[in-house]
Symmetry: D2
């Protein structure tokens, strides 16, 4: 695993826990943790249970006894590491967004395609697909329970920048993060909308905004944020993104669904509200990551007097990923998606499953992000995704 | 009252009930109901309790014994009737949207301004302002409980056109209705957002869409819809509208808040969901007309461990409009807003209150609707409201 | 109408509004308002729209031009008035609880039975049966959608006595009110549980409690409460009641369902929370008067993955009582039940409907209240209802 | 760890994960898994990560290299194992309920008290205390935010026996399980109510019931249930328990709060709904394990117009147990309580925390269960807890 920040802890939990509940076709071992700072890497490896540490990702991706490279660094280093690892014949799991630019993402997708010819697997880490309620939502749509889809609303709302005096972090620095709310959390909303519906965005029209453009520099980092220093710095990324989208029309014609999207750090009171609502001709679903064990489903085919959004607790053994966990009604948390990601990756490596989302999927999301930026620069005009 | 359709029933309930609960400075009498069809007018008058009927609105607005003209016809006749009534010195209550075009609305606002010089009152019927929870939301914002406002999300979602075979009504005919989802329900979302925040939209960028463009003609009308005939007709208005907006910056500078808006008839499972969520630096509010007695309020100034959206039942005697009704926790319904509208209108006429929303407010909403249409025609580009 | 307090206002609204929306087989006129205090009666009559007033209920119930007597006085006068009215051949609507004692209620039920032979109708005012969601719940149960019923939980929770210094009212005086939380609001919970399930309580085991036994006397009355005077008085009724119940077994044998009941004035934060949840072998329903337009329905016969409580907005034209009101999704309030009560009463009088709940039903509720009191006095032991 | 059933998996996850997130004063090692069946024990140990297995708990509790005994067997073996382990000087964590009888629980509490003199720690596994929202509820009560407590409602509702043809398991066999819904899930409701309020039940009045008394025998076990065989067996435990309780009066006098309790397997649609609502003079809280990251808090000391139940997401770093986990708004699941239990146990062993709930607490719960049984046998009469 390359990286020792917050996402490293989550990925480590996935590697640690997945084999204890799921019957995997391969047994992963937590071999090497790579970090730029030797001390921090050692502390993290000891805490999280990695056998060794290294400060050199280049030599690590070449090691014969390493089969999988898990990349959890900021986006500016994804391309270089992932391409080197794929060329070395290693399977790669790369955190989202795939890269900071479309060009990098294209190079990565190319490398993944070449590596696939040799049975090498590349996967991008949109873990929210693997929240069982989201996967089940996809299943309902795929089974035609919503009928023709008309509208998709996806938003990722947080409030951790609502305080104008909240400090800078690397996520607010365009060099490191590539983009702000759009790329960090909006990317999840885009991927989830496309995953659940099986559709792709073709055109977008949107606005990027930086509501608070100057903030105190970070003193000491704590979690995703930290204490404020007395100096101030410039926020160089968007902290709110709003856009509309037009999805592909269904095969055989019909209405090309409309989307509306929001990614924001200023939704006071919303802590981690990745929400999606999909309206179809015969049904609708609504999901909120703040109640991640629940899926709202409206079935418009039952008698009018009995219609209503029903709150399905997606915790039955028949639900996706659920059987190995707890009895029905015993709730899962944020981190379980990382175990499910390990399950799917190992299955793909063993040939018993598909590598999804692929780097190609990650590239597509990157192109949507790019198109939103171009639209914003062009006064909001509808802009093709390419 | 001019008009005998669905809104006539609601307005009649307001006139009938308001004096039985509120102490009004004037005692309204339900004098004349005007309808084009004598039989229907008489049936409606008898049902709703109007003393007389007429088929001639022109002579009615001239009658000496009539002081107030309440216009509940479709939008294409608002301008002519309202202007005639105002010129005749009658106070006017006009259903929303004020008119079908900006030009008509301007003429109406002019007429209202001239009439005001003679103490004549003109008010436009955005009744949702008078849902106590909405009024109380306005009070919280005005008291600074949300701090600087950053984002406003307003949507009006219904699903009564989700069925592609649902029949035509006059609301889907551009000649009669002026616009579709945008003008009929989006206008409420716009007015409510501006009312609660005290801000005005200055620029918009949006998209109008007709998802289902051909429908069966209406057989027999029932409520807002009816049975289908075998012939089909063209839907000439939008049935979905999505737009972003930029509000006025606060006095003294600061961030000009961003808005996102939706009006749709295709939100499967949403029956009458006028929702609004406002994010401020120190608080947030959320409202949903489907739970109209409730206001969600998030106070970011209490300790972090105790923060959370609280569900305020806006039914305390200290809440707006509530004291004359029932004990706390006894819920109000849709129609109570029409009583509150009568209270406010009578207060304005008696000089003990202000006529709000004014025709000027209605004109402004009309200009926003127009700007959204222009933006949609210009491929979604940001477009000034003027 | 006999009585001029809070319930008089609600009943008046029913008489006033019902004919304006429903097609009634008879046209009620609001003739005489009777009150002990002539001035208060006149003020109320003027406000609420009654044509005349009287201070003498005895002569009023004898008047030839009066057909219906609506009793909204405190419980201690119900029996005398109702029996006199029935003997005079008048139809009677009597507020709940039917009486303050079982003996009175028995006399009333006898009188009603005798009067029925002459076509005279007697009905008791459990209006919450006529909240459309409650009526629809009854319909679902009657249609077998819940299968065999196992458990019923009904509670009526308010918090208006939570403040120990809240003042006395007549509702806290045993002489006037008969009982406290049990008779005033617990009676609603009992009736609603029996109405929805079609079952009757046969045995109960419970506890009556007075949490705050001394309070300031009432200064000036406001709504259901008022300001405090400096003197203090004794609360002579229960302010909390908890009991379990055993219902009749279904016809043909099977499990006799268990009930659990609560009536309280001390449920801090609960304003008017009449809640009921019924668990059956194949389904469940849950209702909360604080969201009175909604019914929660769980259908255990759909596939396990799709099961969930669904929130049905009981506002469709096919729902009970709904067609004459507003379009789907336009919410009703507390007072609409009083219009529905008028509709059902007039239907019963015209012979086009049944008088329900009858005085016999009211007597049964009275016997349950009595049995709870006897159980409480006998240290909580199971006690038959008789 | 003694036992290899469902709870073994949950405890193992606690032992595995706690050290990876929390800084513990001691480093636990997962040494030996003991099971009656050698094959099953080995499979479980391999799956869950225990170093060794044994089929002999007696020799295991004597091993010098074992410091802690974690008992996750059915209740009939708790006493024997725990007492032996304590006598051998081992710290003991014992699943709830502490034992199947009061006599056993007394012996265990005695053994724990004696062992405590030697610095040996004994703790009983009421893990739901360690759901952060429940711990935080306790903190709010302890800080006086609810004022004088009046009423406590606690219920644990499941529906896994709602199907009359659902098969037998050991949990329905009195020999193995001691009691049914009451001891298995009602015990949690009792402990949680006492934990959050800091009060103890002194008297109870209740009813135990077996709604479905004959069921198919278990074919193959799956999770908490399994497939049905064609033979049928007798359910020898309660499957529903309802009772009222009287808590200790507060120090210095005042009202002794009333409780109402329910434990059921027949609450159709409720999967794992451990709910509690506490009404105090100045505030209230409500919790539902089905939304375990949330606490509802009503503060009656803010202005009446701003009062409402607020939904606190108990995921802030300042909330109990939260800091080492994820950023705010990233949800925890069912199993996290088992990590928190390990943290608290290790802290108690290291002397940096208190062993809570103690075996004495477990004994008290056992006495409440016993008193409910005695009351049920005595026709529901109020019965002292002793």
């Amino acid at each position: 695993m390359i990286g020792s920040g917050f996402m490293g802890s989550a990925h480590s939990q996935g590697w640690r826990v997945a084999p204890r509940f799921f019957d995997l076709p391969r047994s992963p071992e937590m071999a090497v943790l790579v970090g730029r700072d030797a001390g921090r890497a050692e502390a993290a490896a000891s805490k999280w249970g990695w056998a060794e540490t290294s400060t050199d990702w280049r030599s690590t991706v070449e090691r014969d006894d390493v089969d999988i490279i898990d990349i959890v660094t900021p986006g500016d280093s994804h391309a270089e590491i992932a391409i080197a690892a794929l060329r070395a014949g290693k399977h790669v799991l790369c955190e989202k967004p795939l890269a900071n630019t479309v060009a990098e993402a294209e190079a990565m997708a190319d490398a993944a395609e070449q590596a696939a010819a040799n049975g090498v697997v590349a996967m991008v880490g949109f873990t929210y697909r693997r929240v069982p309620a989201a996967t089940f939502a996809r299943d309902l749509v795929a089974a035609g329970r919503l009928g023709a889809i008309r509208q998709i609303r996806a938003a990722y709302r947080q409030d951790w920048l609502a305080d104008s005096d909240g400090p800078m972090t690397w996520r607010l620095d365009k060099e490191r993060a590539g983009s702000g709310a759009l790329g960090d959390i909006g990317a999840h909303a885009i991927d989830l909308a496309e995953f659940i519906t099986g559709l792709r965005l073709e055109r977008v029209a949107g606005t990027l905004e930086t509501i608070v453009s100057e903030r105190p520099l970070l003193g000491e980092g704590i979690g995703l944020s930290g204490t404020a220093s007395t100096e101030r710095g410039q926020v160089t990324v968007d902290d709110v993104a709003l856009f509309q989208g037009r999805f592909t029309a269904p095969d055989g014609g019909g209405f090309a669904p409309l989307g509306s999207f929001e990614a924001t750090r200023f939704a006071t009171g919303r802590k981690n509200a990745l929400t999606i609502e999909i309206s179809g001709e015969t049904g609708a679903i609504a999901f909120d990551l703040e109640r991640l064990n629940e899926l709202q489903f409206f079935d418009a085919t039952v008698p009018a007097t009995e219609q209503g959004f029903r709150t399905i607790f997606v915790t039955e053994p028949e639900h996706p990923y659920l059987a190995p966990w707890w009895p029905a009604g015993h709730m899962l948390g944020y981190e379980h998606g990382f175990s499910h990601q390990v399950v799917d990756l190992i299955d793909a490596i063993a040939g018993t499953g598909e590598a999804s989302p692929s780097f190609g999927d990650g590239l597509h999301v990157q192109r949507v992000l790019d198109a939103v930026g171009r639209s914003s620069n062009a006064d909001g005009v509808w802009t093709p995704v390419h």
